[in-house]
Symmetry: C2
């Protein structure tokens, strides 16, 4: 008998018909003799509708109250699935975040899980129930409702799996698993059978939308085996697990492409201590997250400083930069919106040299100019012009031997 | 400084525009220096939509899970009003049933409030907040969400007013107050300025929909002054309060008419001990509530036994009666659906004689035949043919001097 946590996303619970299909799946798992905890998202589109309703009520809806409002979405699906399972003769019980013992900090809208008290769920399981948990939500120490941010149900599921010491956390979604790259861009993309937490984390950060970043951090920290798989078929998907020695034999596991960034360059700023602080402090105060930061050395006591921000933040970042540019004596502020960040990710980089060289050569062979480069231990990212993005992805996918076997 | 609990019903929070108007009203009360607790219903129609959704999920939706689903309706309006008040610069905070400390028994769908711990709300008030409470809901001792049944927000409001020792519980609704009878039937109906809990209770039971029956029981038990008034104007409505000696000078306070009952008669059953039990036990087991029960003495060791049930329960009650009728040896089962129960209510009946006689004479003067009669200390009800209902109401309204002054 295994204890399985199963998370179903918004498209899997889009309406009563879909929820009935989730019930089929849950029922089957239960019939096999496993203990099942189901974690649900809101019906697809519901969270956005609720946000629009809140924006009718207030231009800047209070975050605490927005959480109370948004939490109704998952409350609805959890109640409906529990109803359906019960009407089929199964023992089932819904749990809201606070009832599932999910305690978070007080940061409304993107709360972090601080602790999980799994007692209520374990009691229900011991009593033969299927536990149906409303994802995305928790409660702070004062009992106020909080939500975990976009994709938060992934994190709910992984956190519950960790607290209950579940055998596996299954993330059911509308794709078959994690792919070597986006199959819509590259038709030879392959499903990855096993991937390490570290690689999955880099891929999530770089825009692979299959898992919320925090859920991967959580899985890594508490060593929760995660199985990303399709809710529409029975195929095995991708296991996200601790790295093992055999993984390093694969040099590159995946290629990502992020079109959601824009670039800002301070040309010829004085190369003096404190300049970076002057530039980045006002951005931080405006709550603008900066991704890549690259400083080139120039001669003559001047330097060029480039960074990227998300396109959502770009206009505000540009205004702040124009103002700060004058203060610090930059010659000019250059910007570029039509850019793409392509990245290669692989645990193997730790032990294999030459990955960067292969990447640069592959891009050069297609005459793709690299504008910015940044690296981590298991990732190399290049910013290029957006129009070359698809070509770059396909070229790299092939250069690193990721193409499907024919 | 007064502590006021204000309850707004579904039509008062039907959409964002209406909720903004509720906010105007709450804001005005707060500006006067009062402490305000707002109790809200779901937007009108939302509870019915949620019930339809549940019925798509299951023909007989599990009651526990239905409560979880229905509770989202009030959660939504409470969050939206708190948002609006905050965006106007007021301190406000929403409370779900369990956060407001409303503890109920475990009877899903029609839970009773067992206890209220007002600590959280009192803290918020002391801190200058407007407390916005989701009505209709509570939690049982295990923390499961429960709901209080149709109109339950009235009871939430009165119970909170009682727990907080509020100066008044204002029930804002779409009518101006409690009327001597239904103004749609009788154009000379007058708004009642003050009415006793006992009379209000009889009127609520007899179909005056302005207050949930339980809320009046609660108000009576804990002596909570209730003010029923319109959410669309500033007029004073009806104060529901403890009886006072001056009230008894008014013999009859109101006339009600309930069209929602049907009659079943067991003709000529043996007049033996235990017959009533044999007839009413199977009805009780089927959870059919019986209203009036009248037994006429006949000669020859036989008796006629008549009772009324709601029209919703009529078909099931008739089937059971046909079966039981054979068992107990009734000559036949007679039924009537096209009936109306008209009642006169007044504390003054306790000390004035002749009310029944006046009532029967008034009906007789219009040739309206009385089929059944039942009485309580402060009420006389007559069942008549439905087609005479409006005429009977107008006749009685005039006979007891309730018509508007010209």
């Amino acid at each position: 008998m295994a204890l399985r946590v199963q998370k179903y996303g918004g498209t899997s619970v889009a309406d009563i018909e879909h929820i009935n299909r989730v019930a089929d799946r849950v029922q089957k798992s239960q019939d096999q003799g496993d203990q099942i905890v189901v974690v649900l998202s809101a019906m697809s589109g519901v969270t956005d509708s609720l946000i629009r309703l809140a924006e009718q009520a207030s231009k800047t809806p209070d975050k605490r109250e927005l959480d109370v409002l948004l939490a109704t979405g998952e409350q609805t699906t959890a109640a409906l699935l529990a109803m359906i399972l019960k009407s089929r003769g199964y023992k089932a019980k819904s749990f809201l975040g606070f009832q599932a013992g999910i305690q978070t900090n007080k940061i409304s809208g993107k709360a972090r899980i601080m602790d999980i008290n799994g007692t209520n769920i374990l009691h229900a399981l011991a009593d033969g129930h299927i536990a149906v948990v409303a994802g995305f939500q928790g409660a702070d120490e004062d009992g106020a409702i909080t939500t975990l941010g976009r994709g938060g149900s992934d994190t709910s599921a992984v956190a519950i799996a960790s607290a209950l010491k579940a055998d596996v956390c299954e993330i059911f979604t509308d794709v078959d698993g994690v792919y070597t790259t986006d199959p819509r861009i590259c038709s030879s993309a392959r499903k990855i059978d096993r991937i390490s937490y570290e690689e999955m984390l880099e891929m999530a950060i770089l825009g692979a939308k299959v898992l919320q970043i925090r859920s991967v951090e959580f899985a890594k920290k508490y060593n929760v085996p995660v199985h990303v798989r399709s809710s529409f078929n029975e195929e095995k998907g991708t296991m996200v697990v601790n790295e093992s020695s055999d993984m390093e034999s694969v040099v590159v596991s995946g290629i990502t492409c992020d079109m959601n960034e824009a670039r800002i360059t301070f040309k010829k700023v004085p190369d003096q201590p404190g300049i970076s602080a002057k530039i980045f402090s006002p951005l931080a105060q405006a709550e603008i997250g900066v991704d890549m930061i690259i400083q080139n050395t120039r001669s003559g006591g001047e330097t060029d400083l480039t960074f990227t921000v998300t396109k959502d933040d770009f206009e505000r970042a540009r205004e702040i930069s124009e103002r700060v540019g004058k203060e610090v004596g930059a010659h000019e502020i250059l910007t570029a919106v039509e850019i793409a960040k392509v990245s290669v990710i692989g645990l193997g980089m730790k032990s294999h040299s030459g990955v960067a060289a292969t990447m640069f050569q592959a891009l050069a062979s297609e005459n793709i100019n690299i504008r910015l480069i940044s690296t981590s231990e298991i990732r190399i990212s290049c910013v290029i012009l957006a129009k070359y993005a698809e070509l770059a992805v396909r070229t790299l996918h092939s250069a690193f031997g990721l193409d499907k076997e024919k």
